[in-house]
Amino acid sequence: MTELSSLSFSSPNFGASGSVDGKTLTIALSGNADLGALAPLEKVLASLHQEAETAAVAEVAVDLRKLEFMNSSCFKNFVSWIGKVQELDGTKQYRIRFVSNAEILWQRRSLHALQCFAAQLITVET
């Protein structure tokens, strides 16, 4: 497993860390993704897409279990990122697996909406 410094971000309220292991790239988010996290998250997701393409991974796992809250502006970054994955040539597309905490209402609701957006690409694991 190789840590990816380009996916690493840490502030008192929000954090991100990433690693790649074979054909799976994993990013874990923690804390509260509110307006303060908007810019870092956008940057992290841009790097994530780039790393995933470079490493030609089959899957990106997004671990949200330690993420207590995410506002809609931050979540829209995921919509844009998924849009980018959809635009990739079929052979270059990678699957996205959200690892969620079923007890957190926003995750259940929002991830379901996101899954409808790209049902073949996205799975949600609780």
Partner: protein
């Protein structure tokens, strides 16, 4: 979607270009309105743009685009009514809907591409709308009836707090409480005040007011009556009842069906009422009150009541009652048929006074929480629907097992306790030491606490069962919480969490 393909490509291309521009303006307008909700011109503009887009999509036979625009109109209409103060997931769904529409517009015939679950998303929109309705901010006039000591600004955001977070708050409050037990007199008072503040805040976060949602639904029913050219006098007798969000949602669902049925199928049109020598205006009475640990909501109308004979006949047609003995079936049993899933969906609801519509859904929503729904009807005089749901129970039976820092210590009554006088005390857990409330006296005997497959041994002395009230419930994985007995406060141990040491935050220094 073949009709769209028959159109000249030039027209379809023109539609695509204009539609994508409209979508951009709608998204920009939506963002602005969430920041500046009073911009009426902007609100009109996005509604107009969306409506025109829907119409254009129909013209070029992009049916799924038109259908999704229609759903988006529902969302925007709701948001406009709430001055664009909507939950985060509502905002997200609006954005995703706009992106969905853009994708569909770009498709060859406006149809769903593989990978997009449009039906699932439509359902998601309905769900988000339902949630937003259930948790909308209380109307100011009703908010005044709320009891004091609450935190409306926080409560309006309750859907953003998970139980994990609430438990974390409760654990922090409990840690403060333990700290105050050992503190010097001056800081003891300060810490106690902090604990009390946290306790009250947590209590307010775990419930929502039932009244605003019921009042809003009742007023919507009166609007429905107006559309049906009926006159309805609405009487609201709503006590300020605080309920857990799940109960508010279940009662809201059940009330929606009951109110709609009362107005649509119960209360007669004015001429029919006149003919029946009833007051021109129908009466719809909605009451809510707390009965011990239960909330009761009653919806009563003075309409035509349920036509039991029609229900019997329908049940015979459906094979639910034998034709030969249908007449002999007691009224109560006939009523129960109205709660059968789908009972009324296979036939024009008017033929059974429509009382079966959605009743199965209402009962399911309530029974899931241990609640109930009952119907009472008087032919020609009206129908009463009574819904009951348990409030979050904060009462429990406990067994006293000792004391620490001057307070009784208890375990939940669901654990069996047996003394093991010959067992070595040194090998059992001393609650006082475990909680950091002292070194432990070493007094007492070993108590074997047993529940299902879990066995925990503590040092203590059992002294009887008592009723207790949970003041600030923590999760079972946390070793302790504060309870109130008739004699005062006490500590409740969660035995299964005593196996490993608590977080340092839970221990007094």
């Amino acid at each position: 979607m073949t009709a769209g393909m028959a159109l000249p490509e030039k027209i379809v291309a023109r539609f695509r270009g204009v539609a994508l521009e409209r979508l951009e303006r709608i998204e920009a307008g939506w963002l602005e309105l969430t920041r500046f909700p009073d911009d009426a011109e902007r609100a009109d503009e996005i509604r107009r743009e969306l409506h025109t887009l829907k119409g254009d999509a129909r013209v070029v036979a992009f049916a799924e685009v038109a259908s999704l625009c229609h759903k988006l109109e529902d969302l925007l209409f709701f948001a406009h009514g709430r001055r664009y103060q909507v939950p985060e997931n509502f905002d997200l769904v609006v954005t995703i809907a706009l992106r969905f529409i853009a994708i569909l517009v770009r498709q060859k015939d406006g149809a769903t591409q593989s990978g997009i679950d449009l039906d699932g998303f439509r359902k998601q929109i309905d769900e988000v709308l339902r949630d937003a309705q259930s948790f909308e901010a209380p109307a100011p006039a009703i908010e005044k009836t709320n009891s004091g000591g609450t935190h409306p600004s926080v409560r309006e955001r309750i859907d953003r707090l998970s139980y994990t977070t609430l438990h974390a708050f409760a654990e922090a409050a409990t840690a403060v409480y333990l700290e105050h037990l050992l503190a010097e007199e001056r800081s003891r008072a300060r810490l106690r005040k902090t604990w009390q503040g946290l306790r009250d805040l947590i209590a307010s976060l775990q419930t929502v007011p039932l009244t605003p949602d019921l009042a809003r639904r009742a007023r919507s029913a009166v609007e429905l009556a107006r559309d049906l050219k009926k006159k309805v006098d609405l009487v609201l007798e709503l006590e300020d009842v605080q309920v857990p969000p799940a109960v508010a949602e279940a009662i809201g669902t059940a009330a929606l069906h009951a109110l709609r049925n009362a107005v649509d199928h119960g209360i007669e049109p004015p001429d029919a009422r006149e003919h029946a020598r009833k007051p021109f205006e129908g009466k719809l009475h909605v009451r809510a009150r707390k009965l011990g640990e239960t909330v009761e909501v009653v919806i009563e109308d003075d309409g035509g009541g349920i036509d039991l004979e029609a229900v019997r006949k329908r049940a015979v047609d459906l094979g639910l009652l034998p034709a030969a003995s249908a007449e002999a079936v007691p009224e109560r049993t006939v009523f129960e048929l109205l709660f059968e899933p789908g009972f009324s969906t296979h036939r024009d609801v008017d033929e059974t006074s429509g009382r079966g519509v959605g009743l199965d859904a209402a009962r399911t929503a309530l029974s899931r929480l241990g609640g109930s729904i009952d119907l009472h009807t008087r032919p020609g005089l009206g129908t009463t629907v009574v819904m009951r749901a348990p409030l979050q129970s904060l009462s429990l039976e406990v067994l006293l097992v000792g004391d620490a820092a001057g307070l009784p210590i208890a375990v939940p009554g669901s654990w069996s306790v047996a003394e093991e006088p010959n067992a070595p005390v040194a090998e059992a857990i001393d609650p006082t030491a475990f909680l950091g409330l002292g070194t432990g006296s070493g007094a007492g005997t070993v108590l074997r606490l047993d529940k299902e497959a879990t066995v925990v041994r503590i040092v203590g002395a059992p002294s009887g069962r008592l009723a207790a009230e949970r003041l600030c419930p923590t999760g079972d994985y946390y070793p302790v919480e504060v309870i109130r007995l008739a004699t005062g406060e006490a500590l409740l141990l969660h035995p299964s969490a005593l196996i490993k040491p608590p977080d340092s935050g839970a221990r007094a220094a």
